[in-house]
Amino acid sequence: MELKPLIQVEEISFGYTEENVLSDISFTIKKGEIVTLLGPNGCGKSTLIKIMLGLLRPAGGDIFFNGKNIQQMSSKSLAREVAYVPQLHKSSFPYTVRDVVLMGRIPHKAFFFQYSKADMEIAADALGRLSISHLADRAYTEISGGERQLTLIARALAQGAKTFIMDEPASGLDYGNQMRLLDQIIKLSREGYTFIKSTHSPEHALWIADRAIMIKNGALMADGKCDEVISSKNLFHLYNARVNVLKLNRSLRVCVPQTICGCTEFAHSPLPPCELGEPISCSAVRGG
């Protein structure tokens, strides 16, 4: 483990109008970590992501990548360190998957540029690493949502950045594609890539993330290991939803709504009663 953090977020605040959307957010991220940002709609997750990508200027505070303040980095050199994997979207023009991945080479090119043979190889390699080489000549608009998301990750790889910032990467994907996406994230994090992703699904965080950062009303609510932070209590505070976090075995936890997991009689209590319990077998969950 490196001593120096890869990313330092220091006292970030931001406001679109007078009111602050984010206030005094600080955390650090180490190389190779998978960090999940959790929070209700409108809590400031996306704003924080945009600030970390240098797309928005914070009203106060600084962000350092490898010790360099991003405000002092050119957008090109920042793009060589951090790649953005946006939410599932459709392009208006049916570029081929290869053309989309090639866009990732732009931060490495001069002002007027032609893609070189080396760029082509890097793009092909990125597609290969995500096992989607067969899509290279397909139109980006005609492949499935999961394949589009993998294409955008391939573009991030081609960009040469070691940190990927993802805005709800799994939203809009079907179940199988969500699993395949999470698999790829795990695989790449083992290779040393760092992931910061926002999600609406705490389960995804429990499955693959090392760390969860919870943001509520623009302020840091909790930051820590997923197992510790993603608790019934915190989820209630964060989402105002009654959820039990159950321990399936030593390393795996799942979230189950109280109305389903059999704790309905406590549903009206101010705080969820079922904190982390003893290891529960699946049949026990079903039986309530």
């Binding site: 797309l55 793009a79 953005y84 049916p94 732009i106």
Partner: protein
Amino acid sequence: MKRNLLFPALIFLLVLTVAFSMTLGRYPLALSDIAGFFLFKIFGAGSMEFERYNLLGSLLLDIRMPRILAAILIGASLAVAGSAFQAMFVNPLVSPSLLGVLAGASFGAALGMVFFKSWVAVQVATFLFGFLAVLVSVGIARMHKGNTLLLLVLGGVISSALFTSLLSVIKYIADPYNQLPAITQWLMGGLSLVDGKILLTAGIPQAASIILVCLFSGYLNALSMGDEEARALGISVEWIRMLLIFLATLMSALTVVLAGMIGWVGLIIPHITRMLVGPNNKVVIPASALIGAIYLIVVDDVSRMLFNVEIPIGITTSLIGIPFFAIILRKAKKGWN
């Protein structure tokens, strides 16, 4: 079509169109006449009489060449400006007139025709007001905070409407016997007033901006993915967008200076191009320049040959372009979603 064959094929087609168009006119020529004339001009070798070379010289070099060159420049400019705008504004339905350049230039031309005596002044006014209209659009977009693209489009709508109304004012106060018909005809477009001098003045900046946009075309794919994504790819979006708007405005305003209002080219040609070569803007931009050039030469041939009287080219581009567009629409839709 194979990409390495595409550009040679298009250039060959362009040369063929130019050669064929040289033969057309009141005084029809054979291809052999044209070949003979240029062989004589370049190598000094030929078998025709001196008189005939003189005739061919004035016919080809003074009358037909400038017209064909103007058609090439105008077609390429409108097509490139249209392709660049469609990618940049992430909307396959926009045309070079989006930010008001054509409305502004029309107003400038009309203003010039009513208040200034010299044709040069008319041309200068055309150019300046074309730019002014785009500045108004950009200014309106800058006044407000928010989604820049949307604001630019709205600014364009406002600016176009403003200069269209101002044009009406000029038409209303214009002398209805001489000035009004002149304005109306100019706004329908026509290549008959093109001469060597204006061709040189307008053509060089036009050709330069076409080349520059081709060089910038590598950014257009990324720009069409949306501002945030493009910026996260390290692109200085605002800067490049303003540069592209400047270049597109320059070349579009100059088309009005050369030949009045010519509609539809900037909308249709990008679609036809994407249908032929796919959506990658690195190919679309130069290919649309060539296809736009070929298209406008052909349309100009139709304009001057179809009837005894020349039809304004703005009318022909619309009358040929619109049905054609309607027919290919289904196929063209493959180029966008």
